[in-house]
Every structure is written in C-alpha cells, then in structure tokens.
Symmetry: C2
Subunit: 267 residues, 2 copies
C-alpha cells in the first residue's frame, strides 16, 4: 500500500540510490495521493476526462500508489498476474509481444495520461510486456477497486469504457497501417500520430524528441530498422522533416499528410 511495500516489485540495479529516492518521496506521495486525480494536471488526457468535479473527487480514492519505473525496466510482463491498470503520470512506455522464437512485435507506444494494462482483464494475466522508454512514473489503479467504483460512479464507468474502446479503434488503425500501407506511408502515419499526441500534451507539433530506437519504431511499423532509417533520410531529402538522430522537426506537415492518400497500393 505504501512505496515501501511496492519497492520489491521494482527490479533495480542501483538499489541503494533507489531506496533513498523512496524515502524522499514517501511523505510527498502520501500527501498528494489524498487528492490524486482531482489535483492532477493530466486530467484532460487521462481517466478523469469528461467527468464532473464531484465524480473526480471520488476518483481520488482509486489511486492507491504510484510507482516509479526506470528506463528499460518492465512495468509488467506477459504472464504476470493482472491486478491493476496503470495511468502514466510521467515518462513513456512501449508494449510488446514476444514469439517463442524471439521475434518481437511492438504493439504500441504510450505517453502521459494513457492507460496501460487493459490486456490483462481478459484472462487475469497480462499478455504483453510494458517497458519504460525513459525513467517514468505511473499511478497504480487496483482493478477490483476500479470495477467497484465504476459501479457507483457513472462517469467513471463510461469513461473507462471509452478508454478501452479507444484502444480497440487505435489497434484497428495499426492493422490498417501494417496490412495495407507501404514503408513511407507507415512512417508518415507514425510521425503525424506522434505530432498530434505531443500537441495534445502542450508540446510543439513540429519539433519533438522520440524516446524509442529505430528498431522499436521498425518493430511497431512492421519494418526493419534499416528501412525506417532510409525512410527518414528520404523524408529529409524531400524537405518533409529535419532528422537528427531521435530529434525530429517536421517541416512540411501537409506533405506528410499527402503521403497517406492515394499511393498506388501497398501490401
């Protein structure tokens, strides 16, 4: 229930340092958790979206704990018992599925305010891995509590259903991308999607820093990392974007959008 109890679940090389962090954050966390959602500036992007003030106040009892996850560490793994869903408070994640032979498919990249762990409801075990792309923090929402509260708070129930449905719609978009777009279209779609999500978070639509590698982008888009790299170079040649490693500046957003229509065909 406290940070201390959560600590053993967080694998961490430099354990000592991390304990210090815990000690430092415990009093702050306990204080702020009393008003977890109602005070959070991510409301608009997160579970509370669209709920009334009264309803959000009731939400505060939902978030029992926060959890810090260091870069490259797992929030949960495929096969883990499902107990909670997670709202990203800071940082970003990728989710992936692994085949027995080692092939990896990245199924999504998640940013602040987005919800992780919905895959676990189905079987009560997680079916994918969630890995932090940078040092991150999540709000832990115990699933039993969420179901209980959403039986009482209509707005929460409705919003939770919307979050799940949005995930389904997003997945359909990815299927479209993987099933019928060519490499450059996929990357254009990816960049436009990132841009739009950064915008929603108050960052620049045109200039941002990708937290994932070319290989992870490639896995998500069903391409090899070399192909991703070549597509970036092509966009740069064509004056669509300025690329410097992970730093992206979109120069011609309309041009990127145009790439998405009427290509001859794809896959």
């Amino acid at each position: 229930m406290t940070w201390i109890n959560e600590a053993p679940r967080i694998p961490c090389r430099d354990g000592a340092v991390f304990i210090v962090q815990i000690k430092a954050t415990v009093p702050i966390s306990i204080a702020s958790l009393k008003a977890a959602c109602s005070q959070c500036n991510l409301q608009e992007l997160c579970l509370p979206f669209g709920m009334t003030e009264n309803e959000i106040d009731r939400l505060d009892e939902l978030v029992g704990t926060r959890r810090k996850i260091k870069r490259q560490q797992h929030l949960y793994r495929a096969g883990d018992l499902f107990e909670a869903i997670y709202a990203i408070r800071a940082g970003s994640f990728k989710t992936d599925v692994l085949l027995e032979d080692g092939r990896e498919q990245v199924t999504g990249f998640q940013m602040t305010g987005e919800i992780l762990g919905l895959d676990g409801i189905s079987t009560e075990f997680h079916t994918c891995n969630a890995i932090a792309l940078e040092d991150s923090e999540v709000c832990v929402i115990p699933y039993g509590k969420l179901e209980e509260l959403s039986r009482q708070v209509e707005g929460l129930q409705h919003q939770f259903h919307k979050v799940m449905s949005r995930e389904i719609v997003r997945d359909h978009g990815v299927m479209m991308l993987l099933g019928s777009m060519r490499a450059e279209e996929r990357l254009a779609a990816f960049l436009l999607n990132m841009s739009q999500r950064f915008t929603a978070r108050g960052f620049s639509a045109a200039e941002f820093h990708l937290r994932m590698t070319r290989e992870e982008i490639g896995s998500y888009l069903g391409l090899k990392l070399e192909t991703v790299s070549r597509a970036f170079s092509r966009f740069q040649e064509d004056g669509l974007v300025a690329v410097q490693q992970k730093h992206i500046r979109i120069l011609d957003i309309a041009g990127l959008r145009k790439l998405l229509q009427h290509q001859p065909s794809g896959g």
Copy 2:
C-alpha cells in the same frame, strides 16, 4: 422495439419476400425475447459466460430486439451513430476499415456468440463497417441499457470488460501476425484460429467451410489474394490441408503449428 420498427433499417433487394419473413417471425421473437439470454444455447460463448443463473436471468431484459442481416449487407457502417452493441446469434461477419483511396483492411471475422460494435463506444460513432458474410442474425443490446445494468450486475460488468479486453488481446495477435510473420505463417495462424473457434462451437476442428473470399482473407492477413491462393496450394502439396475452394480439411494440425515457430524471420 419490434421487428416492424427495425425493418426500415434493413436494406434489402427482395423487399416483398423479406416482409413475409418479418410477419412470420414477429410472434416467435417476442415470445423468445422474454427469455433471451437465459434460454440461449450460445451462453458459453457470449456475454453471459461466467455469470450466475440469477445474473443471466437479469440479462434477459437487455436484449430488446433481434435483427436479421442478409449476406453482404451492413450491420453498421463507419460514421453511423453508435447506439448498441450486437451479439451474433447466427451467421458470421467481417469488420473492415476503408482508406480514402479505397484500400480496405479487414480487421476481423466474427462468429456466433461474438460481440460486434465495441469500436463505437469511443466516439459515439462507429469507426468501422460490419458486413454479414452470410445471412445472419444478431441480438441488439442497447448500449445505455448495458451500462445501466452492468452497474447493478457485477457479473455482467466483469464479463463485458473481459469481452473488450479480449478484443484488445486479439488485435495484438493480429498486429504480431501482420508485423512479423511471413505469408505461410500468417495463413497457418489463420487456419489454426478458425479451427479453434469452430471447435469451441461444437463443429469439427479439422473440416470446415470458410465464409469469406480469398481476397477478404488476404486483406485480413495483409496479403494479396494470389498469395493466399498460392499458400493454400503449397499447404496442399505438403499434405497439411485438403483445400477445395472454401471447403477446408486440416490433415496435419501439428504441421501447421510447426510452421508458426522458428522461421528465420519475417518482415
């Protein structure tokens, strides 16, 4: 509320014949709807799964109407206002998304007991098309009623969440397939999946009739119809399946499964 009121929503070339059908089925429907779910032999595969007898009795008030959809007709279209989800009572469907330039991506094939329309919760408009692959019938579950009842009936709430989560997990599987498998692996995965779903419905695991065309399979698997056809032929040569048009007989299920592991790589 009755078949008659629903009738105008069903586009139908041979209207006259259909009206006769309606007249014939109205009394039967009204009688059976009084005990929609509790009497239904699809319980195990559908929304009531895992609920207690008492809970299922309460479910009966949920299904207001049934709707017949003829082959090739839409249950709903992208852009339609979202009002209800649908449980397939008989027949089968495909769902697809269309790009402006006409490209189609089939996002799924649905069989009896499966739920359609979850994509609409997110924005209150449907985001994909649902088209009957054969003459079919669905139970119409008004969404408002479902939310209301699932605030009262814990088992319903839980089961509904599981259905949504299962859809997310399924989509991840398709992403894996589209993103990192080669053509024959995709088709093998598809056949094994169909076989498993037919089995769950009491049909033969080894012999079944596909309701969709090669082109639809191809769209779902991110392949061209010729590639699907060639893969079928290859499987036949290798003694894995006997294919005669849409009729499939699996001869070596272990062989198909083996195709799914340890291929060198994909894409």
